[in-house]
Symmetry: C2
Amino acid sequence: MAENEKQGVTRRDLLETGIKVATVGGLTGMACRAGVVGGGALAAAAATLPATASAAGKADVPPGQLDEYYGFWSGGHSGEVRVLGLPSMRELMRIPVFNRESATGWGLTNESQKILSEGLTPETKEYLKKQGKVTYDHGDTHHPRMSYTAGSYDGRYLFINDKANTRIARIRLDIMKTDKVLEIPNAHAIHGLRLQRHPKTGYVFCNSEMRLPIPNTPETMKDPTKYSGLFSAVDAETMKVAWQVLVSGNLDNNDADYQGKYVASSCYNSEEGFTTAEMTASPTDHAVFFNIAAIEAAVKDGKAKMINGVPVVDGRKDAKSPFTRYIPVANSPHGCNATPDGKYVVLNGKLSPTVTVIEWAKLDELFAGKITEKDCIVANPEIGLGPLHTTFDGRGNGYTSVFLDSQIVKWNIEDAIKQYKGDKVNPIRQKLDVHYQVGHTNASNAESKDADGKWLVALCKFSKDRFLNVGPLKPENDQLIDISGDEMKLVHDGPTFAEPHDAIIVHKSKVKPVEVYNMNDPIFAGLHAQAKADGLVLGKDSKVVRDGKKVRVYMLSHAPTFSMTDFTVKLGDEVTVIVTNVDEVVDLTHGFTMINHNVCFEVGPQASASATFRADRPGVSYYYCQWFCHALHMEMQGRMFVEA
Amino acid sequence: MAENEKQGVTRRDLLETGIKVATVGGLTGMACRAGVVGGGALAAAAATLPATASAAGKADVPPGQLDEYYGFWSGGHSGEVRVLGLPSMRELMRIPVFNRESATGWGLTNESQKILSEGLTPETKEYLKKQGKVTYDHGDTHHPRMSYTAGSYDGRYLFINDKANTRIARIRLDIMKTDKVLEIPNAHAIHGLRLQRHPKTGYVFCNSEMRLPIPNTPETMKDPTKYSGLFSAVDAETMKVAWQVLVSGNLDNNDADYQGKYVASSCYNSEEGFTTAEMTASPTDHAVFFNIAAIEAAVKDGKAKMINGVPVVDGRKDAKSPFTRYIPVANSPHGCNATPDGKYVVLNGKLSPTVTVIEWAKLDELFAGKITEKDCIVANPEIGLGPLHTTFDGRGNGYTSVFLDSQIVKWNIEDAIKQYKGDKVNPIRQKLDVHYQVGHTNASNAESKDADGKWLVALCKFSKDRFLNVGPLKPENDQLIDISGDEMKLVHDGPTFAEPHDAIIVHKSKVKPVEVYNMNDPIFAGLHAQAKADGLVLGKDSKVVRDGKKVRVYMLSHAPTFSMTDFTVKLGDEVTVIVTNVDEVVDLTHGFTMINHNVCFEVGPQASASATFRADRPGVSYYYCQWFCHALHMEMQGRMFVEA
């Protein structure tokens, strides 16, 4: 009882905080509505568990049957990517990306350290070296996106940002492992990330969320006139920055068209202030549109300025450049979502109850100076309080997540366009309560031209009392909604650990991972070369190679044994253990753990991996296989003898 | 097609490897049966997805409804503990324990580093310091167990082992956070871990899996006669080792009785060999039984030898001590499971198709020399190929996981006892296929006297093709089985990341976590004291305190702002940021991330946390709240200015 009462109070408190801030921002109308609509809805939810349009059981996938969709989930500040099966919403795999992962040895093995460190700037390498590190231990992932060919998912790569340490990463989807990590120079906190869709994913588009003085020094850091926003295009194959554009305001989310010509980005803080009050003072902000061909031409013609090795062009508002256009939208737009028919992009209001629909086809004329920015806007429907992101069903409807109202709002795009023209038509189709405070939302195949309108996920930021209490830290709530019919139906509440910021849902036909590694994969090339130099064949020979104080131990794993039951080194040696798993059996992963030495890593079937450590503990230490492999798995162990 | 063919072949390969090794071990009879029964079953499974006794939908918990049970899951070598809801099998929370966790800052914050480091031995602290570390980055958890009062779960603590780095940890279940970590001196790889049940959990019983020479030096490390197994009892409140016992063989799993008198441990490698062939040579091994009162008396009387600060008594087989008894069981026993009626403990054969049932009540006479070891055995039913663990329904039945046959086998305990006495009765009730290669199994409340026989989980080590392919690394498969009726029914396949070694299922009435932190909790005492010494009140004041080259930044978080929009330090300062979250709202967690500084941590409602870093980057760096808190969450940021 007392607990319930407290929850009721605290939900209202939360909302009241929102009202106060919104009022400070001058949005009194919105604040009033929040008090009535949002507050009422939340207070009701606190009293009894809300009735939901539930079609329970539809999300259930019985034992022995497969899901129809892959979900690629951001792991938020857990730094990882998660692979889910839909509609069951079961987590099938975690892919470590920016985090240090205990089981796989991600961040420990020499191979993962190379991937994590080689794309860092020299300044960052130096900074980390002072802390005794080769890379960061954490990251903050937001937007996982799969590579495209001609507007369809092609199953090659998944890209994701790291807001915390200004990086992006690429995951190879054939083996579901991270293969490239890049720090973006000149930027600060990579947030919005989307991909070129046509003719294929040549560029990864990255927003620097924070505005930074250029250069960033003690002399410039307190001078507001030196600060600028920054947009980056990264070559998706080489994973090098192709070019950057200086912009006005804080870039938020972005999205690309289906023709390979333009990219749009929502932008908050056009005021270029530094406090929440300053940042939300103006009733309008803008969306920035980038003209790819114009930028490429300027870079090619040597018109870009080289800053830290990257060609940078000036696309700020005052520069009135051929590179950018600034289309005004209501205060603090957040989500930026291209429709799968290739026609429009939707900017979501956040502090305005509206979304703004902009037609890509108008941009040629805008950049040519034939029409004004406002002429590109074709609709501006009122959706609800706090619209954040919009997704699509491929049947002409948008589904917008509305944070303050805690709803998914379904609306018809063509009706919204008619309404904007003056027709008396209501584009809103349905408002469905979600629990609670939804952030991103995404529907099946919705970010490709193959949007199929079957399932939608609402990634709710608060779960409060929707699950058994697990202490002060609660899970998020990823809710699954059936959108295949005329009416949206909530079918599943999915608790998740911090913090699935965003997700995409991809039909299983688009993804074809391998079952077993290819030992000739380029990822093992370094180990093959080292073995050859040491006079042996990787995956065939077991050998201890001494090279001064360095010792390389080449070991094979074959269930349930390692090829060496012991090896001997000297105190203080730098030991590199290289394990090659010669098992060819599907799902027969081995591991190597050296007890009390901070060494533990994964070795998949036909894979090879290595870790380096100092033999600083005299006497015997055991190593064992930590990945269950066989009835005699526990006996799969050996001893390292460290001589004085 | 080719893929399917490969899977068929590889499954047979896996089994054949098993056969070869078993043959080496001399168990020809078992190997033959494996070739017929196990191999046939697996080959059939490869051809088509097996028909399962599925009652799909029963595990589904509709949106807005709560689960009935908590599941506390080992995260295996992910180093974490997972909290699940049952029967939905949804992961509600991850509790970082032995790992470095990106989102929460576990392993980064000063508070977590203190917990992770203060229980390490001086040698380990020194070893890690040489690597620039204060603790390990990974762990290998196996056996989560909840504290008891009078044989019932009491919801106070959860304990778990780390096999990789010879540690145990305690989790406070009121806040679901790790509060103590202890390295066990003299031991090597803590594996089996179970708790005293009566009168309450005073001791945590820990098995050193690896046998180690004592002392462990270059002089002793190759002398087999110096090696010994080791059993430890840790005080559950102080988290200090109370006493240790030298034993013969490699200790595996253990379990305690319901009277507080005895502990049993399975033991493999009674041969005391070092290779798989040596370790499995003998057809019998043993279970070791420890007499707690006898050991306590010896320690009290000063009869124990102090080794590295711990009193150690000699309980090896040859010592014929009052501390231990060695009861012979078939080759390589694995699981060790006390029945919830308090009468028996079951040793599971692993390399024998049988389980051995031993009656606790016989141990008084055994220790008194009145009966022989074999007299304590009351049943020895044949279960199937590779019995690993047994759990119970509180209605007199055991459920044994059988690894090679991939089955859960239900059998009746009293019928097995009758059969052992010579009655012609078959104790086997049902054999249910699981997919594939099951390790641990556990039923609801089954490890307490409140076993209620509703749900059982089978933690299957291989999932192979049971889920959408996610590359060479597959999830495990935690299957949920309804055992409430006469017949077991498989209702859910649950994919899980590496590697839920073991789990317990606890009725929700037994666990009462808090919703919001108490700011006076002892875990914040250090921060309160530091604030007081710095002339301010934690949670009230914001202040930058300079102390030579050390700077302490006291900051408050209150959605959607930090109490400081900026602060200034000097290049090279050692900066400690202390964030106190003054929000009192349930589920309103904030975070603090300092961009490009490897700093990111969680601050729950009414909690406080800190991290220390060097200000080695001149110019401006932003900090932000990474835990979604409010519609203006993205604006919750500030700037650190680093002066030259």
